[in-house]
Symmetry: C2
Subunit: 197 residues, 2 copies
DNA sequence: GAGCCAACCAAGCAATTGCTTGGTAGGGTA
DNA sequence: TACCCTACCAAGCAATTGCTTGGTTGGCTC
């Protein structure tokens, strides 16, 4: 196999299976026997591939977050106008919900629990980083005069963050609407409100 | 004790302690020994007051939801104009987050898991009921001409619901803002958008 | 055909879990 | 004094948990 292109190994398959279960039932509530059963092997065999159950979520979350925050950085580094950057960030987030359902769900639901372990302290850093991304986007919009000045930045950031990510709890790929349509509707509400003009 | 007024019994105390732990660490992740330790008794002694751990969450959630949905019903039955009713519903929800933090958090975080047990099937009914409340409020607003007609009702409902309830994950009573201030800011964004007029 | 290696099995251990059982302490009541 | 009743303890059981250990299988390579 001289091909250097990424190729799904058994290990990757197991990680995908685990991610699905962690997202569906929660980390603590998923047993190594659940994962092994879904993969058609015995629970002990998992330990040929991974150190521990914790190592599995760790790898799942690290990989996902590296990609996501790389995209945020690109947007911030671009020369697009403030409002376009904000829209891009929302679009990219909904795209992540579409392409990485399980990972987003795990991060949403299990971060608080995982943060009680030292090895997951990097999750707090990522939260902080996310906050800075959104606050920067909002502040740039205000400075450019395209966003309301009377908003409480901190509250607005939380509303945006929460509404975007919580969509993972109900969004299903292949549903009535694409993630792009949902993102655009959300932006429409966020930017113009639901009030009749 | 001839007094018929409600009085905090030991049982009620234990329920409060359990609610705090369920909200903080999750239902499955809270052991009966955790609850007993917090109450200063042994785990077996809990079973003098309750049938099972499940019975505890059950009682916690039932009591809370009865009160909350009673308030929604009052709003719908009132003769206030559509927009005022929508605002009232948002205010009442944030008030619930303030007064019943633990209960809201439990319902938010554990409903999916609890729904896998037959005895908690009523949670699905409550979700359905909540959906009808918000959809009715939105539809009335549209019919009255005070809300945009081009909105996807289902999506709008989900955005409102999610953003309101998810605030329980960061709101802390006694913080910089009261729940009423937060609710008003949220309504301001929801109704008018964050765009500069 | 010898050696290697990734992938897995079979069995089980120690810790943790929800819950049970039989008993006790202490305050009120008759 | 005899009786309840509420609230609890002390001890432990059966099931489930994450993980370990030693061994097996089948395909690949030299």
């Amino acid at each position: 196999m001289p091909e250097s292109a990424p190729q799904a190994t058994r290990r990757d398959e197991l990680l995908e299976i685990a991610a699905g279960l962690f997202a569906e039932k929660g980390f603590k509530n998923t047993t190594v026997r659940d994962i092994a059963d879904s993969a058609g092997i015995l629970s002990g065999s998992l330990y040929h591939h991974f150190d521990s159950k914790e190592s599995m979520v760790d790898e799942i979350l690290r990989t996902f977050q590296e990609e996501l925050f790389g995209q945020y950085d690109e947007i911030l580094a671009s020369d697009a106008p403030p409002l376009a950057q904000l829209e891009q960030a929302v679009l990219v987030s909904f795209e992540a919900i579409d392409k990485h359902r399980d990972e987003v769900a795990i991060f949403q639901n299990e971060a608080a629990y995982l943060l009680t372990f030292d090895r997951f302290s990097y999750l707090a850093d990522r939260n902080q980083q996310s906050r800075e991304v959104w606050l920067t986007l909002l502040q740039n919009g205000i400075d450019a005069g395209v966003l309301r000045k009377d908003l409480d930045l901190e509250l607005t950031y939380r509303f945006i963050r929460d509404t975007v990510w919580v969509a993972v709890s109900w969004y299903r790929p292949g549903g009535r609407r694409t993630h792009t349509e949902i993102a655009r509707q959300y932006l429409s509400i966020l930017l113009e409100g639901i009030n009749h003009a």
